[in-house]
Subunit: 454 residues, 2 copies
């Protein structure tokens, strides 16, 4: 059996950038910094340049090639000026670059094979004075630079690789996992990856850290790491309970059976349409899929909207009385097709539904209810059950597919762009045979759905 | 439109016994009392005789012909002696009579067309000293005799007729309605039927009365009438929330549209098998009936056991995931055949069921759960949902009829005699066509079920 030390050493070796890669990065970063400083001089601006992120802190994984260059402006200039000057300098630093938009616009481009973001921000006194989210980043870099020696930086790389391997890396809203900054803080907090994973295997969430012992707010999250540079912020706010549990699960797996595949999992073998159909059919559920063209928005907008739409339609189905056994959002690799999959345990319902009235003792309401139904030939009752009137009236939706195929789904809470996309049209697939054909678009998602792992 | 006064006057006329009936009753009662006193003398016993119940209090309805004769023994004799002497005297009072058994044995017979119960009891100082439930009855009679004048007795008769008309009369455990004693106390409390019904139409249960202002216990019942002869007893303990609501509903009906049919409803037109089948089919539920021979026990034992068995099997169905839309106990008029009817909204379920494990953070349990399922080929998962492991495993029962047809129904809470009866065998009817055939046995029950009224 491989030992844990062997595994960690091998991972360390694989994820540590070689001297050549480091050199090329330094050269590129220096070039970019020079360009930026020259542009600042040209424009006669009171700004400075800072390299931030994992490449600045020496915690990037071999092969990752992101350089983040921040141009810091004095806080007395207006937001409009910041954006204007920021873009001017960005285009001079990256002449081939193009504009993108996060909290404010920035320029993205490429230099010597590295992906470069040139982002304007405010140079504020402390992280609690920030005027936009990116203003915080330089403080993070400064905080960690002072605490990460080469050994810890190595452990950060191994831990980040572990998180990637188990699918819990990234604070984007698709993953809701551990950000790079959070990973680094945790390694620093425990003094290395092994004590961190040993502790994580035993965590009882909520787990709270406050490295600078300056937190002022309580958070309702399973993992709370008070930002050392901002007492009001939980660095792990976006990290889901599921990803905390995932880290705990795989930490235990690593100790029980140390293996490289936890860090570098091989690609899953994807189900064929036939296999998917057989698996679906054997469950004797009624798989039902709403398929539509993915709205053209960034993932951090898209996934919350898909999640909200899934929950909205699921709640609509439940309100109508249909049982949803499991549900999932599936998106194809190209991000073009989105699927809201509902596996129903009940797809048809009686023609009648129970409608409970008020207690008979609440005279006005009770009399109103009784009179509203007593002459309604389509209803059974009113009759008494305990202290209340009850009627059985025609059910609006007796067939889940008909419900999903109707405008009724626009009455539930949907993400705004998803609602637009569904308005443009969607395809409804019902039953194992039709849903299994989704392997043509969302093969990985469907395989994960039918053979889910922690 | 008929006025309320007209209706009440007509009812009063119909339910008040004619002079001839009263005279015959007095004669019969006097004869019985003489016989009893002679028998007491013959046996040289320290006992006395008391006529109790509605015929003693003048509150019986014309045509009702029950005479209750109580023989009261001193409290120092043993229970065995009481039973022995009580039966001896009973048989001398009613030479053609036969023995029956309630809390203790008594003799039942007939004199001049009247049904006579001759019941032994203890002559205790006060109703709180009673040694068996029947000891209380003489106190009730004495209490009411002192408070019921001819007008109030007339209102009692009309109120009792109203309760019979709406199906809420009787403290037996099939009806769970208003006893005669309770009806009389309520009429006395309000000083007549009209103020009583006016008040009842506006009741907000729990409604509490304590005529003697001596109650010592609190009760959790919708209607509480502290027994004037026993501070620890709620006279209305057996009265269900449904019957309290029923009284409220029909009191309002009576004021809104005074009519004789509330007191003397005509027989319902019963559904034919064809009509029953059509009604059942139109509901698109899956009616399912467990039919068996009624156990040979008194109604006050039978109905609680049937109710318990219905609730037990319904809870078993729900636990297995089957939806029960409505359910009912049906018994044929002869009391020979009992039916537990379950109208299912879901009769079949997926082959898989969801099984939630512990939170991943509870390490020992979580690891045990994960290891129990990770290599089980019949299961999907374990996977993570939020902070927990979940597996999908084969469901034990996917078909409600198969469940009801199996020994699994003996695992739920059943009445003990019902369990015996089911062990002897039962028939399972599934679907509208089969269940509609029940009109041959439980026609009235099935009609009430399919066309229920308050």
């Amino acid at each position: 059996m491989t030992t844990l030390d062997d595994v960690l050493a091998t991972v360390h070796e694989r994820v540590t950038p070689m001297a050549d890669e480091r050199r090329r990065l330094s050269t590129a970063a220096a070039l970019l910094t020079d360009r930026a400083e020259a542009a600042i001089d040209d424009h006669d601006l009171d700004a400075d340049v800072l390299q931030v992120g994992s490449t600045a802190r020496g915690t990037w994984l071999a092969g990752d090639r992101d350089i983040d260059l921040f141009v810091r402006f004095p806080p007395d200039i207006s937001r409009e000026e910041l954006e204007e000057y920021g873009l001017d300098i960005g285009h001079e630093v990256l002449p081939e670059g193009h504009q993108e938009y996060a909290e404010h616009p920035y320029v993205k481009g490429e230099v010597d094979g590295f992906d470069v973001d040139c982002v304007p921000c405010y140079r504020v006194e402390s992280a609690s004075d920030i005027r936009s989210a990116v203003d915080r980043t330089p403080f993070h870099t400064r905080y960690l630079e002072a605490r990460l020696d080469e050994d810890l930086a190595g452990d950060v790389r191994v831990f980040k690789r572990f998180l990637k391997g188990i699918g819990a890396y990234g604070s984007d809203l698709k993953t809701r996992g551990f950000s790079g900054y959070l990973s680094e803080l945790l390694v620093v907090e425990y003094g290395g990856i092994v004590p961190l994973l040993e502790a994580a295997a035993d965590w009882s969430p909520p787990v709270v850290f406050d490295p600078e012992d300056h937190g002022t707010t309580t958070f309702d999250d399973p993992l709370v790491v008070i930002d050392p540079t901002d007492p009001d912020r939980n660095v792990a706010a976006v990290c889901s309970a599921e990803n905390v549990a995932r880290l705990q699960h795989y930490a235990r797996e690593l100790f029980a059976d140390p293996r490289l595949s936890l860090f570098f999992p091989s690609d899953r073998e994807l189900l064929t349409a036939t296999e998917a159909r057989q698996r679906l059919a054997s469950r004797e559920t009624i798989p039902t899929a709403v398929v539509f063209e993915t709205p053209d928005i960034v993932d951090d907008q898209l996934y919350p909207q898909l999640d909200k739409s899934l929950a909205g339609i699921e709640s609509g189905l439940s309100t109508q009385g249909f049982g949803v056994f499991r549900s999932a959002v599936l998106v194809d690799d190209a991000g073009k097709t989105a699927v809201l999959l509902f596996e129903l345990s009940t797809a048809t319902l009686p023609a009648v539904e129970r409608h409970e009235g008020p207690p008979v003792s609440v005279r006005d309401h009770a009399t109103g209810f009784f009179e509203a139904y007593v002459d309604d030939e389509s209803c059974v009752g009113p009759f008494l059950e305990g202290d209340r009137y009850v009627v059985e009236r025609p059910r609006e939706w007796t067939d889940a597919a008909a419900y999903l195929d109707s405008d009724a789904i626009f009455e539930v809470g949907l993400g705004v762009h998803v609602e637009d996309a569904l308005t443009d049209g969607y395809e409804l697939l019902v039953g194992s045979a039709e849903v299994a054909e989704l392997v043509d678009t969302v093969d990985a998602g469907l395989t994960d759905y039918l053979d889910p792992r922690p």
